[in-house]
């Protein structure tokens, strides 16, 4: 165990009152969080919702609720990451040129360099690992079992455990804001900067353990989703009929299952360096700091495709629905997904072409990177041909899907530029690279926002407000264009990334444009919140039947909206790739089962939440080096797991009569919704819109 600088006590470790930052911005954020927290707690107590929260959400093993909680965590962290972005843009527009003013103790701008470094490190870590990843895992959780006609995931208990470990990671990141500091070494954690000698504080430890704990959750979730897709499909759901989103979920989780352990190794070895004084990545004593970069990016690049493949899957579901046409090139779409997943393993070195691995190595990775463009190009053309001569309807999910397509064009083509080492040498570490990967991640964000709008009615039974969704889309898109086009340009002009101060005043106009773009983003956040509020307020006017869009195609739209906890009362038999279209074509989409049967379901359990609480203790103890807490938490986790394994009564049975009663109520409500919809002159959600292909 290495000795650390500064005071340490056996009870509190490195924790002391001095750990509370005295920065006015953080104080503001703290007050905001406390007020918000008190409001939520007060509402829960006032409305007497604690029992409901505990029974229906905190101890649930229902894949839909777990998925929704994943998405909520992701959206909260997305907002936090957005605030980080807003702060960075504002710093760069203020700190431009030698005569720029300084506030709050900064020579230029309002953020001192060490604070600015923490903000971009937090922004990257949060956006990739605590916003995009949980939202995608959440959407896969909600949609995949429904699409394949399963009752739940293969391992519902493990599913809840994954959620709570992800929540612990997010909680550690939020704690770092108010207790201690965060890593200043970038989201990638450059070695040897992250070594104890150069980062003696707790920031790096927060970053390291937040990622480590949540990535255990992601790995468990990946194994669960793969087992679900392989083993839990309904009869007739052959591989050739599997919906594309489920295919992309399979490919993406194979990536997650095989790549996240490498991140665990990279961070684990870094942890050994920081806690035991080993020499894996140190400069000197036989360490090799390039080993870290390789291990990190061997996970890091597959992770990029881990986030983008589900987005491709979402686009592949949305575009056919709103083109009222089958997806063009189903087989090539599946092949392309797996080609991208496969090639993702042989491109990691393009993140550091300039490290001087030599022309032969660089050439291999350059060509492998360009190869990614082929399956991606196949996908783009497939989507374009799906829209071509379709009956296109530009409802909000379709807008997001088409936006994602354009982002993919821009991001993909600039990616091809960066794949060439000669180009890469001149723009390496510039904001051109930053603009490129943000455009790519915008594909994910557009896909996610489209998918949330698209599948929202399936989970909650009513649609989101359409006009506000459109405003959200357009303000968001204007923001994207105004932030990232100037960023590409200034990157080409030589602006390097991670600057807290810009020496070249010629870059000022670009910074102003980007700041305006961030303003549009801020407006878009308002419209999003307003959309959620108005939709919730007017939910009775926006109720939908099983097929929320009137032209949906896949199996999940056969289940009632909102989906009952057992998903399908009787397991459906699948006859076609687009099962709902097939049933509509045969006039069978309204046919309900005639006989109901007992359904075995997993029981709610508080064990995953308890393990999560101990994991939080473990992470917190490790960050602050409070050894009694780490030891106690670790032993408690093991004992809890063992104790749980002795529990025999983990399932219960829903009686056939009960299922019949629930189904009858649901059908009655669907009929009312259809009548109300027809009376209001809205689209008739039960009217068949096309015949089977």
């Amino acid at each position: 165990m290495v000795n650390v600088q500064g005071p340490w006590s056996p009870i509190f470790g490195r924790l002391s009152l001095g750990a509370i930052p005295d920065n006015p911005i953080i104080a503001g954020a703290f007050i905001f969080s406390v007020v918000l927290g008190i409001l939520v707690l007060a509402y829960l107590t006032y409305a007497d919702r604690w029992g409901y929260l505990w029974r229906e959400w905190l101890t649930t093993v229902d894949h839909k609720k777990i998925g929704v909680m994943y998405i909520i965590i992701g959206l909260v962290m997305l907002f936090r990451g957005f605030i980080d972005a807003l702060m960075m843009r504002t710093q760069q527009v203020l700190a431009d040129g030698a005569h720029s003013p300084g506030f709050l103790g900064a020579a230029h701008g309002y953020l001192v360099p060490y604070h600015f470094d923490q903000i971009y490190s937090a922004h990257g870590t949060i956006m990739i690992l605590f916003a995009a990843t949980p939202i995608l895992v959440g959407l896969m959780n909600v949609v995949v079992p429904l699409q394949i006609g399963a009752r739940d995931m293969a391992f519902p208990y493990l599913n809840a455990l994954g959620l709570w470990l992800t929540a612990v990671g997010a909680a550690l990141i939020m704690l770092s804001l108010f207790l201690g500091d965060f890593s200043h070494a970038g989201w990638v954690g450059l070695t040897p900067l992250t070594e104890l000698a150069y980062s003696p504080g707790v920031g790096t430890d927060y970053w390291m353990w937040a990622i480590q704990i949540s990535s255990v959750g992601t790995t468990l979730g990946a194994a669960n989703l793969i087992a679900t897709i392989i083993k839990m499909r309904a009869p007739g759901m052959t591989w050739g009929r599997l919906p594309i989103f489920t295919w992309t979920a399979l490919s993406t989780n194979i990536i997650a299952l095989t790549s996240f352990p490498l991140l665990g190794v990279a961070l684990g070895l870094l942890g050994l360096d920081r806690y035991f004084g080993t020499h894996f990545f140190t400069a000197g004593m036989g360490g090799n700091l390039m080993l870290y970069s390789d291990l990190f990016w061997m996970w890091g690049h597959p992770e990029v495709y881990f986030v983008i493949l589900p987005a491709f899957g979402m686009m592949s579901e949305i575009i056919p629905t709103f083109s009222e046409k089958p997806l063009f090139g189903y087989v090539t779409m599946v092949a392309a997904s797996f080609a991208i997943a496969g090639v993702s393993w042989s491109v990691w070195l393009h993140h550091f072409f300039t490290m001087g691995a030599g022309p032969r190595v660089n050439t291999f990775f350059s060509i492998a990177t360009m190869v990614v463009g082929i399956p991606t190009g196949v996908k783009v053309f497939n989507w374009a041909f799906t829209i071509y001569r379709g009956r296109s309807r530009f409802e909000t999910p379709m807008m997001w899907a088409i936006g994602a397509l354009f982002m993919l064009l821009v991001g993909g083509l600039t990616g091809m530029m960066l794949a060439m080492p000669p180009v890469n040498y001149s723009v390496h570490n510039s904001v051109f690279v930053v603009a490129h990967f943000h455009t790519m991640l915008m594909v994910v964000v557009y896909g996610i926002l489209g998918a949330v709008t698209y599948w929202f009615p399936k989970v909650f039974g009513f649609r989101l407000n359409e006009p506000l969704g459109k405003r959200f889309f357009w303000t968001f898109t204007i923001g994207t264009i105004m932030v990232f086009i100037p960023m590409y340009t200034s990157g080409f002009m030589g602006m390097t990334r991670r600057l807290d101060y810009l020496t070249n005043p010629a870059l000022f106009p670009f910074e102003v444009a980007e700041e305006l773009g961030i303003g549009f983003y801020l407006v878009s956040v308002y419209y999003f919140v307003r959309q959620l509020y108005v939709s919730l307020r007017d939910r009775n006017a926006n109720r939908v039947g099983a097929d929320a869009w009137g032209s949906a195609r896949t199996l999940e739209w056969l289940a009632p909206s909102p989906v009952p906890f057992y998903n399908f009362a009787v397991t459906p038999r699948v006859h076609a790739r687009d099962e709902l279209v097939w049933r509509r074509g045969q006039g069978l989409d309204g046919v309900a089962p005639t006989h109901y049967e007992d359904i075995p379901m997993p029981r709610n359990t508080s064990v995953p939440l308890v393990i999560g609480a101990f994991a939080l203790g473990l992470g917190f103890g490790l960050v602050w080096r409070i050894w009694w807490l780490t030891d106690a938490s670790f032993i408690a986790i093991i004992l809890t797991v063992i104790a749980r394994s002795f529990v025999r009564d983990t399932d219960y049975v829903v009686k056939a009569g009960e299922v019949e009663r629930i189904e009858k109520n649901l059908r009655q409500r669907a009929a009312e919704v259809a009548r109300a919809g027809a009376a209001a002159g809205g689209i008739d959600v039960l009217r068949p819109r096309e015949s089977s292909p």
Binding site: A227, I230, A266, F276, T278, F280, M285, R573, I638, F646
Partner: protein, 208 residues
Amino acid sequence: MTASGGMESGQSALWEPHYHHDVIATRTLGFWLYMLSDAMIFAGLFAAYGVLSHTYNAAGGPVLHALVHPWTAYAETLSVFASVLAYGGVMVALKRGSREGVLAGLVAAFLLGALFVGLEVHEFAALFRMGIYPEGSGYLSAFFALVMTHGIHMAFGLLWMATMFFQVAAQGLTDKTVYRLLNLKLFWHFQAILWVLVYTFVDMRGVL
């Protein structure tokens, strides 16, 4: 499976009553997937060991032939293989449905596995007495991390075995205990295979 799949009523073909998934097969697949992720951890550690096992990574300190004792490692190999064989006995007893046979096999596999861990602890204690620690150099860090990670896996396997002993003793051979015994079989064989790799690339390379 197609009990009601006939087309006679038109709508019974739309639904599949009494459709159930094979729980033990699903659990076993899930465990294979876990092992795939565990294999990736070892792949990362072997890669780190490969990168850091050059003489210059030793920073002037000891290198492999000063660290490994082929005969102790050989005894470890025998004990881990004998433990896997004893666990095979658990599987045979499971097939016969003999709870006593399962318990006896678990005890034998546990003791032989404990012998392995004991020998490894003894080996590391000897190194520590000589002043050889993971902090010595990048070379030593990679060596200790790889071998100890395997050792920790073995120790967790022993904990699992002990848990299964009490669970089978208390609950008998139920669906839950059976799939856990099957998964433990996979885990134990997997650790033996990993030991073969460690023995080949660490111990045997140290003798050459």
